[in-house]
């Protein structure tokens, strides 16, 4: 079990050496973006709050990258951290306001925020491209490596982003601060009664979560080269939530496995054309009924974890 994680990472690093199917690499990159999104939403999720604004923060990150690299000609490597930071900065006041409400109402406020972001980017054609979106966003440097028809470099970029994100969020969730977040899930009052600053803790989680969503957006923009309000929709936020719930909340392996499985499964059914969505829907229903605690819950039942958490 101890060797499993390093072995998996080595396998993922070696993958492009053996696999040259560009579609496969593309799917892996999409999985990467989805994993980053799922893990970032999960961090806030462990406090019991679900943000439907994740796609909005992703859009902010993507837009920042698009404007910096295309209009100003800055290198992607500068734009990536700046995009994540931009999403993080905007999330601070948004979080300050929206975290005043709880439960379903928080759903709605963040949902509305996502719509406002998309609406603003769509309304101002200059500089945000309006509904046309922004095309021809340059790839990272060196451009000779990041090519449309050979995705190896993009694959490693996505993999790096996934590993960094997962590592940081894993550290956070296992730190003292992480314990604070878990305790908030048990109840605001209870947590504050043992001296936890509940609003600030939630806000920090919200900002971190937005930061990584922005990073995922930045990768999206440079990889796809095209962004538009049609991409970062409320539906996408819902998808990310589906990844987490189907994967399971109990540990970070939940959102990761959810994102991996639920990105792969629709691809397997893609050949069925018009029946793809039908199959996907039935799988969602089935998986919830059979594994109400998610993939991770079912896994832990099959293989009880040895030692403590």
């Amino acid at each position: 079990m101890k060797l499993a994680l390093p072995a998996l990472i080595v396998l993922l690093l070696a993958l492009p050496l053996g696999v040259h199917n560009q579609y496969f690499l593309h799917v892996m990159i999409v999985i990467g973006i989805n994993v980053v999104m799922a893990v970032s939403m999960w961090l806030l999720g462990i406090t019991g709050l679900i943000s439907f604004g994740q796609a909005g923060f992703m859009f902010i990150g993507a837009m920042t990258t698009a404007l910096l690299t295309k209009d100003l000609g800055w290198p992607f490597w500068v734009a990536l951290p700046l995009s994540a930071t931009a999403a993080g900065l905007i999330s601070a006041p948004v979080g300050r306001l929206s975290l005043r409400v709880k439960g379903v109402y928080f759903f709605l406020v963040t949902l509305a925020f996502g719509q406002v972001v998309a609406g603003v980017f769509a309304y101002f054609e200059n500089p945000f491209g309006g509904w046309y979106g922004i095309r021809d966003i340059p790839p990272p440097q060196p451009a000779a490596l990041f090519r449309t028809l050979d995705k190896t470099a993009f694959y490693y970029l996505a993999l790096a982003l996934v590993l960094v994100t997962c590592w940081i969020i894993y550290r956070i969730s296992r730190s003292w601060f992480g314990t604070v977040l878990w305790s908030i899930r048990e109840g605001d009052l209870l947590a504050s009664s043992i001296g936890i600053d509940v609003p600030s803790s939630k806000l920090v989680a919200f900002i971190v979560s937005a930061f990584f969503a922005g990073a995922a957006g930045s990768l999206y923009a440079s990889y796809y080269g095209y962004i538009s309000p049609l991409v970062f929709t409320f539906e996408y936020s819902v998808n990310v939530l589906v990844f987490i719930v189907v994967g399971g909340f109990a540990s970070m392996a939940g959102p990761i496995s959810g994102a991996v499985v639920l990105t792969l499964v629709p691809e397997l059914f893609r050949v069925t054309g018009k029946y793809q969505m039908m199959a996907f829907g039935l799988i969602l229903v089935g998986s919830m009924l059979l594994m109400p605690q998610g993939i991770i819950g079912a896994w832990q039942k099959l293989v009880p974890p040895r030692g403590g958490r």
């Binding site: 679900i50 306001l97 929206s98 005043r100 409400v101 709880k102 379903v104 109402y105 709605l108 406020v109 509305a112 925020f113 719509q115 406002v116 609406g119 603003v120 769509a122 309304y123 819902v238 939530l241 589906v242 719930v245 189907v246 018009k274 029946y275 793809q276 969505m277 039908m278 996907f280 829907g281 039935l282 799988i283 969602l284 229903v285 919830m288 009924l289 109400p292």
Partner: protein, 267 residues
């Protein structure tokens, strides 16, 4: 022009976040279209059949989907999304690409205080108000209705008082499904029938329920009106594009200022 949303009020009375609800609306509309238009039976046959079917599906979904999940909110949410994907996709395959229409029961337009309104929309609004009143009376003055409110407020306490929450849930699902069928009849006659028709009203009604305050019927009715008016006013004054942003900004503000909803109360 402000009654466009009258129809969506119907959904506002739902309590469980049930994504299949939109598909019930759609399926009922198709049943009504099939019996009442395609087969040429009168509407007073078609609509009750649709209501009975929807109520049946409501009970089945409660028994086989939501009860096993113990009404855990997120799980129900996902099951609902999954089921609605499957139903919608199957509907496209079955019903084909052509949207259908249920003819208006009351064709024509009336002029009310300088504003033109289709009679069918007024009818829809009237049906909404009547149903809302009936539902209010049911919840407040009948035994099963009171039991329902009791379970909503405190499941354990209700259990102690000898109320069986399960049977209450069955009734709730049945009634809400039947309301969905009536909604399908109204929506279908105003907007036409196609497999996607349930999706948008559902999201909108979800928002209305939140703004109105969970479980408050009067709040839901008023919030529905409020959203309808706000939508129309911003749309007319600012044009559709800007209205889209403003509407959601207003929604954010309302929720931040009044987290329990405009007419909500502390439970």
């Amino acid at each position: 022009m402000l009654i466009a949303l009258g129809v969506t009020l119907l959904f506002g009375i739902m309590r469980v976040v049930n994504f299949v609800h939109g598909e019930l609306v759609m399926l009922s509309a198709f049943v009504i279209w099939y019996i009442g238009v395609d087969q040429g039976w009168p509407m007073w046959v078609a609509i009750p059949v649709a209501i009975a079917m929807a109520a049946g599906i409501g009970v089945l979904s409660q028994k086989y989907l939501f009860k096993p999940l113990q009404y855990e909110m997120l799980n129900c949410f996902i099951v609902g999304i999954g089921a609605s994907f499957a139903i919608r996709s199957a509907s496209w395959a079955i019903f084909g690409p052509e949207p259908q229409a249920i003819p208006a029961m009351l064709p024509g337009v009336v002029k009310l205080g300088g504003v033109f309104m289709a009679k069918q929309r007024l009818l829809a609004a009237g049906v909404c108000v009547v149903l809302a009143i009936v539902l209010y009376l049911f919840l407040h003055f009948t035994k099963p209705g009171k039991a329902m409110r009791a379970v909503e407020q405190d499941r354990e306490a209700a259990l102690l008082m000898g109320i069986n929450p399960e049977s209450v849930y069955v009734t709730a699902f049945m009634i809400s499904a039947a309301l969905a069928a009536v909604g399908g009849a109204m929506l279908g006659s105003v907007f036409g029938v196609d497999p996607e028709m349930g999706a948008e009203p559902l999201l909108k009604s979800f928002i209305i329920v939140q703004i109105g305050g969970m479980g408050s019927i009067a709040g839901t009715v008023l919030a529905g009106l409020f959203i309808g008016v706000a939508d129309s006013v911003t749309g007319t004054l600012l044009g559709g594009e800007l209205a889209f942003i403003i509407d959601f900004a207003i929604l954010m503000l309302i929720l931040i200022v009044r987290p329990k909803g405009l007419f909500g109360y502390d439970v």
